[in-house]
Amino acid sequence: MGDNIYLPQLARVSYIKEEVAGERAIKTFRLEFAEGEGFEHECGQCAMLSIFGKGEAMISIASAPHVKTYKQFSIMRVGRVTSAFHELSVGDVVGIRGPYGNSFPVHDWRGKNLIFIGGGCGLAPIWPVIQTAVAQREHFRDITVFYGGRSPRDIMYQAELEKLRGAADVHLSVDKAEEGWNAYCGFVPANLMDKEPSPENAIAITCGPPIMIKFVIQNLRSLGFRDEQIYTTIENKMKCGLGKCGRCNVGKDYVCVKGPVYSWDVLKDLPAEY
């Protein structure tokens, strides 16, 4: 007993970038700890962000663990807290506590080909893994990134994705053809089948809308990927992040503690809804 586990630390917004505009707007925020020690995190972990007077929201940490000066979050405007985030300016101070949840076993994947498959704002949770793999490029074999949005305007991290080229094969897609779009047209799972990555010595990491994940996993299986070669994340409504408030469980496990990262090998045995 001792610490107030619900008390956030204060962090200053040091950078804001509008990734996607419109109804499903996404902004990227960098938060620097304003006081105290801050915390370290691992790829895939989340943090509970506060705007005082509005409340808290659990958001995936989108920066790599080796980035020490800030924590990055890409936040879609959906509810009360995320909408309040979209009103913030650089210099504003918010609350942050964490890190919460498990992480991608990136270290165990050394020597392997990594295939990332993201859709929509689902690029953010796997972005730290991509950044880590690129930063430790010599430890990994081929790095391939599939990423798609509804339209070219829905592609987040555009400049960063371009920077990846060279270190990684980047295959972008949009759902519907549009003038000026030279990459793949069609859904992410279809782009995956179009490129047919080999399951040989590979790990596939996918994150995105549930319907996309479903078909990505189907397609990976048909390409010969075994369940234990496939990793994804799940999200649920969370309030505490500490396995106590009782709402994010899938079966006996709280996603905030045992998740959000699951291998398909484990996840396939859990009920689809819970």
Partner: protein
């Protein structure tokens, strides 16, 4: 430590507990509940409407306060849990067991300083149920006992003209020592009478029983997709009373309560929540993984009889029967468990 307290001296013992605020069941507007003791304390209550869980886990509590002048950083002021030493009398063994379940939840993974801060200053003086405290009791069928000391610091047993007090923890001994000369050594006859009454209580059948608690976790897993869940849950009006009155339900919400606008003032507040509320698990997107009455009934029952067993090796339900007796539409957790577990 086993000692005798004459029936007329209970108030004197309570008065001797210096530094402790004492609570005991009393009746107001026909509602039995734990309230500050008022002489005479009789301990002749049926099951209280609410369990004593609010002493360590209040229905509403503030974790910290915030104040923010527009354009300036917020100032946070942490709140410490109330350090009052409370002793609660008349706690039934099912509720004592409920305390242990709550201790598990708030100590597991990371310790909750608010719950545990109150808990370390709390003592529970239990009352053996020589007769079932309500017709909905089913403690025995979920591994409990009407004379158990689990979660209790002292267990009191009614011997007719006196109580026999048995300490179960060092805190219980301290409480009993504070009584000084009020407590006397039991005679051989009184010890025999205690044993006789406990045996009788253990042998007395309860009207309600979970049929096979040992296999419930497995059967509930097998029947996760049973159509019975929707059938049994369809009467639910999502009032949440089953969870609010449950000695082991711990689900909570966290919200910011704003008390002033300029500067912004408020607090982050924990309040009890309920898995039976439709928006409990609803995502901001509107997607809800538990979007039906049956799926929410399944969650409540599975948490009590499957998930808690899988995590901690024991059912979470302690068989107090409150969710059965107080449900406005007659949903009976014992019936639900038995029906689902028996289905093929």
């Amino acid at each position: 430590m086993e000692l005798i307290l004459e029936k007329g001296r209970l108030d004197d013992w309570i008065a001797a507990l210096e530094g402790w605020q004492a609570f005991a069941p009393s009746q107001e507007d026909e509602v039995w509940g734990y309230r500050p003791t008022a002489s005479p304390v009789r301990l002749d209550h049926p099951n209280t409407v609410q369990p004593p869980k609010n002493f360590a886990f209040p229905q509403r509590e503030v974790f910290f306060r915030f104040e923010q002048v527009k354009g300036e950083p917020p100032r946070l002021t942490p709140v410490e849990p109330d350090a009052a030493r409370n002793v609660v009398f008349g706690v039934r063994p099912c509720d004592g067991r409920g305390v242990v379940r709550m201790d598990t939840v708030f100590s597991d993974h990371v310790e909750d300083s608010f719950y545990l801060g109150r808990r370390k200053n709390l003592a529970y003086v239990g009352l053996a149920c020589l007769k079932p405290a309500s017709r909905h009791c089913f403690c025995k069928s979920v591994g409990g006992s009407p004379v158990s000391t689990e979660g209790l610091d002292v267990l009191m047993t009614d011997l007719g003209d006196c109580w026999l007090l048995a300490s179960a923890t060092p805190v219980g001994e301290t409480l009993m020592q504070a009584a000084g000369a009020l407590l006397t050594e039991p005679s051989a006859e009184q010890r025999m009478e205690l044993a006789r009454r406990h045996e009788e209580a253990l042998a007395r059948p309860q009207k309600s029983a979970v049929a096979d608690v040992g296999n419930a976790a497995t059967r509930l897993k097998d029947n996760f997709d049973s159509p019975l869940w929707e059938e049994l849950g369809k009467a639910c009006i999502a009032c949440g009373i089953c969870t609010y009155l449950c000695p082991t339900c711990h689900c909570f919400d966290l919200n910011d309560e704003v008390s002033g606008g300029k500067p912004l003032r408020g607090g982050r507040v924990r309040t009890w929540d309920s898995c039976q509320f439709p928006d409990f698990t609803m995502h901001s997107s509107g997607h809800n993984p538990r979007d039906s009455l049956g799926s929410r009934l399944r969650q409540r029952v599975s948490h009590k009889f499957r998930y808690f067993v899988e995590n901690f090796g024991t059912p979470q339900c302690t068989g107090c029967g409150r969710c059965v007796s107080q449900c406005p539409v007659g949903i009976d957790i014992v019936n639900v468990v038995n029906r689902v577990c028996a289905s093929v």
